[in-house]
Amino acid sequence: MGLNAALAAAGTALDVYAAGVQVSGNNIANANDPNYIRETLQLAPSYPVQQQGLILGSGVTATGVKQQIDLYLEQRMYAANGDASGSGATNSVYQQLESSLQTLSNSDLSSQLTGLTNAFNNVVNQPGSTSNRQLAIQQGVQFAQSITSLRSQIDSLRTSINQNAKSDVTEANNLIDDIARLNPKITALESAGLLQSDAGALRNQRYADLTRLSQMLPVTINDRGSAGVDVTLNGQALVIPGEVQHLQAVPRSDRGMTVFDVTVQGSTVPITGTQGEIAGLVGGRDNVIGGFLDKLDQFTAGIINQVNLIHASGQGEHGYPSVTGSYGVKDPNAALDAAGLPFPPRNGSFQVQVINTSTGLAQTGTINVDLAGVNPKTTLNDVVGQLNGLTNVTASVTGDGALQIDAANGYQIEFSNDNSGTLAALGINTFFTGSTSGDIGVNAQLTADPTLLAAAQGGGPGDGTNAAQLANLANLSPAGLGGTTIGNFYQQTVTSLTAASASQNAVSQGSQGFLSSLTSQRAQTSGVSLDTETVQIMQYQQAYQSAARFISTIDKLFTVLTQI
């Protein structure tokens, strides 16, 4: 090997070490980017030459710049991202729901229920006091409002989750597009390289995209080296060579509002499960909030029906000159238990007292509601017919299918002994209106005239027998609550929500912890250590200096040679 060859080798070494300094410098420059994957310059001895029987090295070459990344760890992180984000999203839904319930304050629903029964207790203590009756009705209004406002808070929570899911879809689609854009670029850049990681910056960007995408969706990522990555979701391709599928938000009606499911375009199967932010949010909305709403509706319907059943058979301080039901039937000629009433009646009867207001004397009439199933079933029109058979009473069906009963001038109507639940079903002489958490309210006739609060069972203004039943409300178990008392039902619902929330929190913390440990491992492998890089630069510097010295030596040799 001649001096020239040695000089050439030394020159290459200078280039290589300068590149080395550049790589380390680049690492240092990116040290604060958490997604950055440190790079190292890969060196190899240059191809040896055989010269006069000697095989001599020809210096060093840089084979490439390699990203320091553990691909197996990356795959585990994608899965851990999905778990952590999914459980985190569901956990946050739980916590927001819990905050809406205000369980630990004195204004939550269970306190409102106690407030209502306490107000009824005060009516029992002094039934003759109009202000007690007024307070009880006011408490009823407050109770109904706290249910409807809880419902609307929960609905607005669902709306914000909807918006979240929709913006996640947009973000995911951008990421999908970005990955699809980066794939061919990386392939093109690395076509000459051997390390399959030469296009460091672009790869960094793609890794960041994949990480974010794996947080949102339970994607499967197949890294095919320089050929690109394939992204699939539950077997459906999102990014494969030559094909990109986007996500879409599909509207659906659920529990009184429009919600959005997320599907892959062209598919009808919504993304569900526990992995990924989108599934966590949608699952939180449909299962956690939806499940709670079902319980809330069950609770509301149970209370409405129970209170109305009691109230309908009692009497206020005076009767009704005219009363209109709050629930309408779809067809007045349909059997009452199949006429679309929210609380269908049973077989039985109820009694109507027509009171002469000047003498106070009452005529009692019995209205039979035959729903036993042997004879033709009673319809609303049949009830109207029977009512019209009573003296001084006119009954009719209003345009929206409700029953209207009018007393003749100088007469009033009272109701009693309803063992069929017909009055409660038709909303006649009832306390609450509505049938769900969205529409519960207090009968407008009561708010207008509190003396109509049915505290009595046949007695005078001081008769609190019926109010006593209302005061005992929390200890009753309406059919719809599966044997649980009204007082316990809501507490049990909140308790089970609390327990589920606590366990979801534990799950979320667990998966977050696992993700953290993986993140640490990733940082250990791929993170930039400034000290290491400084050492590296010093090494390259010294090598560079040595190579330069080597050149100067060769230069001296040349000088010697040329001086001959």
Partner: protein, 646 residues
């Protein structure tokens, strides 16, 4: 954020800063949690922070609110009962004064008695004020009619306008304590109700809830087996609400051609008869569906439920009363009601149902309290008026009053001891009944040993024959047409017929309602006796008014009689005060125990929910120290770099 485990290997700067961040965040998070605990005073901000304690706190909070209400209830009840007790004390005092007046009056002169009657008038006013006293705007003794004064003075005695519905208050879930005493319970303002079992007939419209004297039955499942056609079925009667429903469901299940369900001939139950062969009805295992209806039977030709004893209701038809025999003809008949100065024939021919009849009797002009009796099988009719006599008799030879079970008439078998408000008739006082006959002779009839009205009638009718020497029997005693008293017919002459009131100290003639004179000379006109089985309220107003009248009319006999009545009423009234007192005591005990329960609940709630300040503060200090150390170390390690030494 949790801190992951460190694996052996490199320690890049990014990892170092990650770890430091995590440490700082985690310490800051626990510090702010502790701060929130201190600021809010609660151990947790969301129930899920500590589900066990939070759940306990939620149920304790609701228990606390409930206990507080029960406590308020007990206090309000105590207040109401205290007011009642003080009103009753005033009334009781007045009764004691009246007792003194009555005892001293018997020997006094008419003028002295007249002065005393003024005093009694004052007592009446005093008791009326107490009886109409209010608490919190409600009249204490009005029952449920407590928004207007329960007692009022009428031309015809003092009227009770209230009812017998009491108030109560809850002191535990589902446990009510009575907090009022109505005017009748407290002051015996209504006469004891008349009304016997009317035995209403069972009809297809009878509600199952009205069976067994109003106790009702809840129908269940029954098992029915027919021999011909051989079939066995389980029939669910839980949907049934009336006897008609039971009939429909059974006939529908087995085929109306195979079995007939009908009201039995006695109209007290149902009979179930197969068209052919025998029928077996049994309970389902563990159920009592068939026994409740009384229709258990094994392989018999017909099953009869026996007496299902339907209760009387306002919608019961009058024709269904007395086992379906009704109440007899009403046109031109009706009830003869005597209530103080009211003496009225009440026409009930327009009444179809019990409710109609009740409405007719509720006419305010009659001064009656009308309802269904406590057993639910008959009417309950009382006078609302104190100080007057009340009777219900037949009109025009009818039988309506007796058929309605509300007749106060006497019969031959009526015991003498039950007459005159239970005061009886002094037949054994050693004085005979002295009758001045229309022929001017005097018959002295010894009635001693008589037990019943018939005994008296027999002795009077026998007196002529028993005379020595016997004379033609011309004196006929009988129960009068209205059935209320005894009337005498004497055909011995054409002079007046009179019956002596009785020797001083005895009141035999008065007690038999016969004292008086028929002055006419037509011997076909009887001497009509007054009603013997009259009802009266018997309470303090009744006593005071009668006392006042007796004092004014110098009626020593009545004054004597009232003496024992006052003692009885005083005992009864002190009994009522005892009940009120024990209710007050019960409520006070409940109040005390609720208050201590309240404190215990509050303690438990505090344990479950409240921040333990000492622990939390010391934890916070420890966290602060750790945080400071972390920051110091972080600042130092982050500064260290090889570059510093180059």
């Amino acid at each position: 954020m949790s801190i992951g485990p460190l694996l052996p290997g490199r320690m890049p700067n990014s990892l170092k800063s990650q770890l430091l961040n995590a440490q700082i965040q985690s310490t800051q998070f626990s510090m702010s949690q502790l701060e929130a605990e201190i600021a809010s005073g609660q151990k947790f901000q969301l129930p899920s922070n500590d589900p066990t304690d939070a759940t306990q706190a939620i149920s304790l909070t609701s228990l606390l609110a409930q206990t507080k209400q029960f406590d308020a209830n007990a206090q309000s009840g105590t207040d109401l009962l205290n007011a009642t007790d003080s009103a009753l004390a005033t009334i009781s005092q007045a009764l004691t004064t009246a007792q003194g007046l009555d005892a001293s009056a018997v020997g006094d002169t008419a003028i002295q008695k007249s002065a005393m009657s003024q005093q009694v008038q004052g007592l009446i006013q005093q008791v009326l004020d107490a009886a109409n006293s209010t608490f919190g705007g409600q009249y204490l003794f009005g029952g449920s009619q407590n928004t207007s004064p329960p007692f009022s003075i009428t031309k015809n005695g003092i009227a009770y306008n209230g009812d017998q519905v009491g108030q109560s208050t809850f002191t535990a879930p589902g446990m009510a304590q009575a907090t009022t005493v109505d005017g009748n319970t407290a002051l015996a303002a209504l006469s004891p109700p008349v009304g016997s079992d009317l035995n209403p007939a069972l009809t297809l419209a009878t509600r199952l809830s009205d069976l067994k004297g109003g106790q009702g039955i809840v129908p269940g499942q029954i098992s029915v087996t027919l021999s011909s056609p051989a079939t066995s079925q389980t029939i669910d009667l839980s949907q049934a609400r009336t006897i008609g429903d039971v009939k429909d469901l059974i006939e529908n299940a087995l085929g109306a051609a195979n079995v007939t369900v009908a009201i039995d001939p006695a109209k007290i139950g149902i009979s179930i008869t197969p068209a052919a062969g025998t029928i077996t009805i049994a309970n389902l295992a563990g159920g009592t569906g068939a026994s409740d209806l009384g229709i258990v039977g094994s392989a018999t030709a017909s099953i009869d439920s026996g007496d299902l004893n339907p209760a009387l209701s306002l919608t019961t038809n009058l024709s269904d009363l007395n086992g379906g025999t009704g109440i007899g003809a009403t046109a031109g008949k009706g009830l003869l009601i005597t209530n103080g100065s009211i003496n009225q024939v009440v026409d009930i021919s327009s009444a179809v149902t019990v409710g109609d009849l009740v409405n007719i009797l509720k006419n305010p002009a009659l001064g009656l309290s009308v309802g269904l009796n406590a057993k639910g099988n008959g009417l309950a009719v009382s006078t609302r008026l104190s100080g007057v006599d009340f009777a219900i008799g037949e009109n025009n030879g009818g039988q309506n009053a007796a058929s309605l079970g509300i007749s106060t008439s006497i019969t031959g078998s009526t015991l003498l001891s039950s007459l005159n408000n239970g005061q009886g008739v002094p037949v054994n006082a050693g004085q005979p009944l002295s009758i001045t006959r229309r022929d001017g002779t005097v018959s002295n009839i010894d009635l001693s040993g008589s037990l019943t009205v018939q005994d008296v009638i027999n002795k009077i009718n026998n007196c002529d024959a028993a005379q020595v020497p016997p004379r033609a029997a011309t004196l006929v005693a009988s129960i009068n047409a209205a059935g209320t008293g005894i009337s005498l017919l004497d055909t011995s002459g054409n002079g007046p017929l009179s019956v002596d009131a009785g020797a001083p100290g005895t009141t035999l003639g008065v007690a038999l309602g016969l004292a008086g004179t028929e002055p006419g000379n037509n011997n076909a006109v009887p001497l009509a006796g007054t009603a013997l089985n009259q009802q009266s309220a018997g309470g303090i107003f009744d006593i005071l008014i009668r006392l006042q009248n007796a004092l004014q009319s110098n009626d020593n006999a009545t004054l004597t009689r009232l003496g024992s009545q006052i003692t009885t009423e005083a005992d009864r009234l002190s009994g009522v005060r005892g009940v009120v007192g024990s209710r007050i005591q019960t409520l006070q005990n409940i109040d005390n125990s609720l208050q201590s329960q309240n404190i215990q609940t509050q303690q438990a709630l505090s344990n479950a929910k409240d921040t333990d300040m000492a622990t939390v503060l010391s934890e916070l200090v420890a966290q602060q120290t750790a945080f400071e150390a972390t920051l110091r170390i972080a600042a130092q390690t982050m500064q260290m770099s090889l570059a510093n030494y180059l």
